[in-house]
């Protein structure tokens, strides 16, 4: 039976107070949390070391100004303990990065929440913060799927954190404004929060979450169905990615794409003019810069099985390509080959690192 920590304040405030407690009692050297930065209400992730800095913290704000998985990579291995409040998909992304030696969980107290979904960047930066969330939270409290969140979030089936030390119960929490329940999943969590407040036995309200999950699953099915009709071979693919402008922002913000230089931007596939001229005589016409599809297919082959469906890629795409939905669908399929769930367990081997002699017997005759 897990322990839950219960507070008598609104969720956002409670989380801030927990962070404050951790800082003030030197349980951690710093906390990573979302916060409001500028007059116009910009948000960023801040690594904060003083409790007064927490006044502007908005740990539960349903936005993703950057993917915390990348940030945590740059902060770890940490010499001093830190606490990080991140979205479940960010945490899963971080776990995938750790498997690739891009960070470590040592000295990190991971705090996450049952996630109602993330509001797309273009909306969140245009809307003033007080207008941004009321509707959102109404629906989240009611266990509904908010309208204004990312498409991938609406279809996300992993909105419950998998490896967090502390899980903040948000989805379906009616009393979110007056109380907050922290599920303490690890001894680390229990010992660190000891003395903060009321502790009871208990866990997440599985009933509520299961109902919510069903809603997301239906949405996911629908998404996959609608994609199926679009992904009807080469033409469909060209229809989707044909307008890609080649900025590769999708890979740069991807928590899984950890390469310092993407192979598809490297010299590996450079062509000199004679090749283009030959292709031209063969085809009568060709696209420049080349390899638009190649990039996306190649990226899929490199990371799809680790895709956590955070949706950051779609958010930054200047051409409004539904990158995230496509990658999520394909990721689910490639991962399924190995019963692999990205971010489920840091001990789980990345499929491409290992093999089983008796698998895929049907392949290769």
């Amino acid at each position: 039976m897990n322990k839950i920590l219960i507070t008598d304040q609104g969720a956002e405030q409670s989380v801030v107070e927990v962070l404050r407690f951790l800082l003030d009692n030197k349980k951690v050297g710093g906390v990573l949390t979302l916060r409001q930065t500028s007059k116009k209400g910009s948000l960023d992730y801040g690594l904060l070391t003083r409790s007064e800095e927490l006044d502007r913290a908005v740990p539960l704000m349903p936005v993703m100004p950057a993917n915390a998985a990348q940030i945590l990579s740059s902060l770890t291995p940490a010499k001093k303990p830190i606490a990080a409040v991140v979205k479940p998909c960010e945490l899963r992304g971080f776990v995938e990065r750790i498997k690739r030696e891009q960070g470590s969980l040592d000295n990190v107290l991971t705090i996450s929440m049952t996630c109602g979904g993330v509001i797309p960047l273009d909306i969140s930066i245009k809307t003033s913060k007080n207008k941004l969330t009321p509707k959102y939270y109404e629906q989240v409290k009611a266990g509904e799927i908010p309208e204004n969140i990312r498409p991938t979030c609406k279809t996300c089936e992993h909105f419950v954190p998998m490896t967090a030390d502390i899980t903040i119960s948000v989805v379906g929490e009616k009393g979110l404004d007056s109380t907050c329940r922290f599920i303490l999943n690890s001894d680390k969590a229990a010992s660190m929060t000891e003395g903060f407040g009321r502790i009871e036995d208990g866990g997440l309200d599985t009933k509520v979450l299961d109902d919510h999950l069903k809603k997301r699953q239906t949405k996911n099915k629908n998404l996959l169905e609608s994609l199926k009709s679009q992904l009807d071979g080469l033409d469909g693919l060209v229809d989707i990615f044909g307008k890609c402008i080649g900025c590769h922002g999708c890979s740069r913000v991807c928590p899984i794409c950890y390469c310092v230089l993407c192979d598809f931007e490297s010299r590996s596939f450079d062509q000199n003019v004679t090749f283009y001229e030959e292709e031209l005589t063969q085809k009568g016409a060709l696209r420049l810069p080349p390899d638009t599809l190649f990039f996306h297919l190649g990226r899929l082959s490199h990371m799809s099985f680790s895709c956590v469906g955070c949706g950051q890629c779609a958010d930054v795409c200047p051409a409004d390509i539904p990158v995230a939905s496509v990658f999520k669908k394909i990721g689910e399929n490639t991962a399924a080959l190995f019963d692999y769930v990205p971010g489920r367990d840091v001990e789980e081997d990345i499929p491409v690192m290992v093999f089983k002699e008796e698998e895929f017997k049907e392949l290769g005759e």
Binding site: Y258, C259, V260, L261, S268, F269, T274, M353
Partner: protein
Amino acid sequence: MKKVGVYICECGPNIADNVDIERILASVSSMEESEGIEIVAKPYKLLCSGEGQEYLKEEIETNQLTHLVIGACSPRDHNSTFINVCKQTRLNPYLYKLINIREHCAWIVHDKEKATDKAIQYIRGGIRRVLYQSELHEKKLDINPDVLVIGGGIAGIEAALCLAGPERRVFLVEKSDKLGGKAAEWGSLLPRQAGGVKAIQDKIGQTEANTGIQVITKTRVNNIIGFLGNFEAELCQVDDPETTTDLTVGAIVVATGFRLNEVSSLPEFKSADSDEVYTTLDVERMLKEKGQVALQTGEKPKSVALIFCAGREKVGYCSQICCSTTIKIARQIKEQNPETAVKCFIRDLCLPHKDDQAFYQQARDLGVEFVRVQTVKSDGVGVHYTCMDQSNGTEKFDMVILAPAMEPAEGTTELSEILGIPLHETGFYEEAHQTINPVATATDGIFVAGTARGPGGVTATLNQAQAVAGKIMVQLIPGEQIVPEVKVSEILEAFCMGCKTCLDVCHYGAIVFDEDKGISVVKEAVCRGCGNCVGSCPSGAIQLKHFTKPQLYQEVIEALR
């Protein structure tokens, strides 16, 4: 300006008859403009012939070729021939490429037209590739001919004796205080019983006397680094691990032998020390010391049960020699006192050697009784069994002798980690290839002989020891140098993210992690150049020399023209 020589071998009628060489040359020459290179394209009747090779040398020098492409036969036939030709000129052999237009074009399709089309594509691909190839320089390494033999049993002794010589020292490391291992404890050896034991004693004597062999007892291997021709070994004393000695050798022989399964630990063979229950090895010792099989009281047993395949289920494999060994013991008991009732409980019989069958027959003739059973258990000297006809039986004997299975020797796992060579699922050492390369291991320069690589008899063990010696002698010729593989992987520091994927897929331990830089690094001398790491690296940070992406990609492009 790049100047590519393209020479098409007629290979007598083999190529000329079914490929239009003129057309190839024409098409090839047309690349001069598109590629902006100079091309010398010529036919020749037989390039691999003496004159052919002279001709090539001549051509390379006089035309000052920067690259060479040959359209001829399979690389398996003459790649080395043409590489040697290059080596005698100023052309680096890695700027040359052989295209197999015989096996892959001339011989696979009757239609000369089509065969020629393919040959053209194939050769143009080769030309493009070769333009992207870069010089590689083989560096010769001095080798250390000395050998480290781990394990002083007969396998180790035999290997040492074969290898030691005026130009090659052998370090024979044994963890116990004396040489000989298990075989030295044997009371007698198959097939000719008496002679064997003496032969082993003699070998031990010779080993100790041999000035080329340095016997190091009460010592084990602590650490090994290096590669074929240049290993560094750290040894330490068994009872005082702090005292270490360093050795440098060119090759390593693993001859750590086996141990017998602890039958006492098996539930189906309960016994107390007071009981007259022995393993075959106990009996061998007994015979060696007392010269006969006797009870603890000193009396001769009136009835003896020998239980075969004791604990085979547990280990899951047949130990090959127990049948003949146990039959041997049964015979000896019967010979020594014919009135003793000797009963063998067998389930299967494994008698693979040429005189095993006769030996078994003689045992029967002597009156040794063989009972085929489905299951057999023992409780002290009481034996309970189920016959093939499902009938159960229980008998008491004066003495029970168990034939336990052979298992990997203690410390096998630890040593395999030190050596970085994998273990078979049975826990014995894994060979490079069980069938076709049975005494080599995954690592060049490390060999395995005797029961360390699996159950077997003295004969097999000696065979393997001699085989290992042979391999080492040809690979490490004193005074000669070796040329390590140059077509190896290399990791580009700027792009390596240190994700260690390559470490996981490399089965040769050829990639190590540089903790300071946080990147993977290839141990060139250990790398076999398979390219698995390259295929696994999403960052494109690894390149396999002579098989780089651009090089292969040139071929792809041409294949798609």
